[in-house]
Amino acid sequence: MATTALTRLLNPEAYVPSILLLLLAALPLVTSNSYVLHFLILILFYALLSAAWNILAGFTGQFSLGHAAFFGIGAYTSTLLFIYYGMSPWLGMLIGSVFSVACSLIIGSLCFRLRGPFFSMITIAFAEALRLLALNWGGLTGGAVGLLVPLMGDSAVNFQFLGRQPYYYVLMGILLASLLVTYAVRNSQTGLYFMAIREDENAAQSLGVNIFRYKLLALAISVFFTAVAGTFYAQYILFLHPDSVMSLNFSIEIALPAIIGGMGTIWGPIVGSVILTPVSELIRSILGGSYAGVYLIIHGSILILAVIYFPSGVTNRLTKHYGAFLGTLPGGRERERARN
């Protein structure tokens, strides 16, 4: 056992990601600059959201444009439980996610009766209806005034930290978990069913795949991580507003990194987030808050260009170069030889 694990680690396919991961984990030790950390947190945050969206959209081909609603349900649930019952947001995160998944199963069982762009449209309608509900249900959600998460200082039990490092590690943990789940799903029978649905729904159905059930399963996994990210957002930003956490624009932002990075791949959402998030952050720091929308102009343009020039995502192009690069590393040649 030990030898196989060791030989696996000698393979660049295993040790390159491991080294990258260790570097990523060590970054907060090198810099305590809070702006740099905030920047990294945002990259991981959008990577997580898009990775979660990718489980549904990338693998089963169902392009939800209403994921912001599930994000919002998770965020509001844990925050309201925290405010009214003093429940720790860690527990609230779990309850919020389960609740959000339950909501998504009800909404999904209606939406999945439609296909293609019709499905996307009805997810928008559901999300907008939920946003308007949150906006008009002021007694519960704070409505248009927004909802402030009560400050508890440095309190790990209450998922609040004064520094940014703890947030960084928590988020990295969640992202890793979501990637592991994606990886496990992709290499499972279930994953094959997902991809069969994406490639040809009718064919999959005629071969006996219960497409309705597997779409709901993909939605549930996807929404779970989306809602977890919602609670993280609430505890990190400490402020919720229906127009910022449940808007159509946010739903699109959730989808963008995966579309640009490459849907149905494991690394696509991360590559996409590494490309997109610096754009928004640089523009925000250069132009200031009053030009907040400028980054969306650039994101929209990147989306248009990516659809035309990289229809299957940037990652697919990179994978080839990455493979060639791995071949030049120690241990890489043996891999090539073993394959031949």
């Binding site: 030009y291 929209g300 229809p311």
Partner: protein
């Protein structure tokens, strides 16, 4: 419920329904010919609304007169989108066309936000408050004028599609891309024209709407969904279906506003949208084409 209140809301619903009809006809033309749902439809309308607003505010040009400018400009914008963007991904997956129009939507909304801020604006003309009294019911002059112009434009478009050679080529392409291309129709050219005309329709609707409706960078999304609802109601790709779908949605919204508080108006529309898509995804008139 007072009968007058209901009659009043029926009249208002019908009048705005005429404009919804024009917007929906534009969307159904684009869908019928190219099988694309243009997510940026309402946002292109928003650009026309701002065009009308600035021509009125800066140069005092009457909103109805500004149609001469906004309609051709929106036609050109639509044609360019088709020529340089959508035509590039015709062979790609359906999703790529969806994402492309989403990209256009993001750019249009946020360019408007950048230049004109998030403020709600409105055009105040001399005739903004004029109304004709018919018994107990008041008919607002700008709403009535916009309705009449929208109906005239829709009829002109119908005649164009039914009678002219180009219109027939467009309908042929909608029915069968390959065969019409074998019959000598330049499909790519027809696509450019169809997207241009569809966008010109929504541009005209935006200008007509701006005489009595507020203007903001995000005003478009609700209209995209509304038009999609109308198009579904009438049967995807059907011209007359979209026309009546638009009228029905206008009436339904207006009657809904009588029974529900104003802040729930959009909620009513979205609920209606969800209901129709789930109950009758093939439309009230069944599956007809242009």
């Amino acid at each position: 419920m007072e009968p007058t209140v209901l009659t009043q809301s029926l009249v208002n619903g019908l009048l705005i329904g005429g404009i919804y009809a024009l917007i929906s006809v534009g969307l159904t033309l684009i869908f019928g010919v190219m099988r694309i749902i243009n997510f940026a439809h309402g946002d292109l309308m928003m650009l026309a609304m701002y065009g009308t607003y600035w021509m009125f505010t800066l140069y005092g040009i009457d909103p109805y007169l500004s149609l001469i400018v906004t309609v051709p400009i929106l036609f050109v914008i639509g044609s360019l989108i088709q020529k340089f963007l959508v035509n590039q991904v015709l062979e790609g997956a359906d999703a790529s066309q969806l994402f492309l129009t989403l990209g256009v939507m993001l750019v249009a909304q946020n360019v408007a936000l950048l230049f004109w801020k998030a403020d709600y604006r409105a055009i105040r003309t001399d005739y903004s408050v004029y109304a004709i009294r018919l018994g107990e019911v008041f008919v607002s002059v700008p709403r009535l004028t916009s309705f009449v112009v929208a109906i005239i434009l829709t009829c002109l478009l119908y005649v164009f599609l039914a009678r002219t050679r180009t219109g027939r080529a467009m309908r042929a392409t909608a029915q069968d891309r390959e065969v019409s291309s074998l019959m000598g129709v330049n499909v790519r050219q027809t696509y450019i024209l169809a997207f241009g005309i569809g966008t010109a329709c929504v541009g005209a609707a935006g200008t007509l709407l701006s005489t009595f409706y507020y203007i903001s960078p995000t005003v478009g999304t609700a209209f995209t969904l509304m038009a999609f609802l109308a198009v579904v109601l009438g049967g995807m790709g059907s011209f007359t279906g979209a026309f009546f779908g638009g009228l029905v949605v206008g009436l339904a919204e207006s009657i809904g506003a009588v029974y529900f508080a104003t802040q729930y108006k959009e909620l009513v529309t979205f609920s209606l949208f969800i209901l129709v898509l789930l109950v009758r995804p093939s439309g009230l008139l069944g599956k007809s084409r242009m």
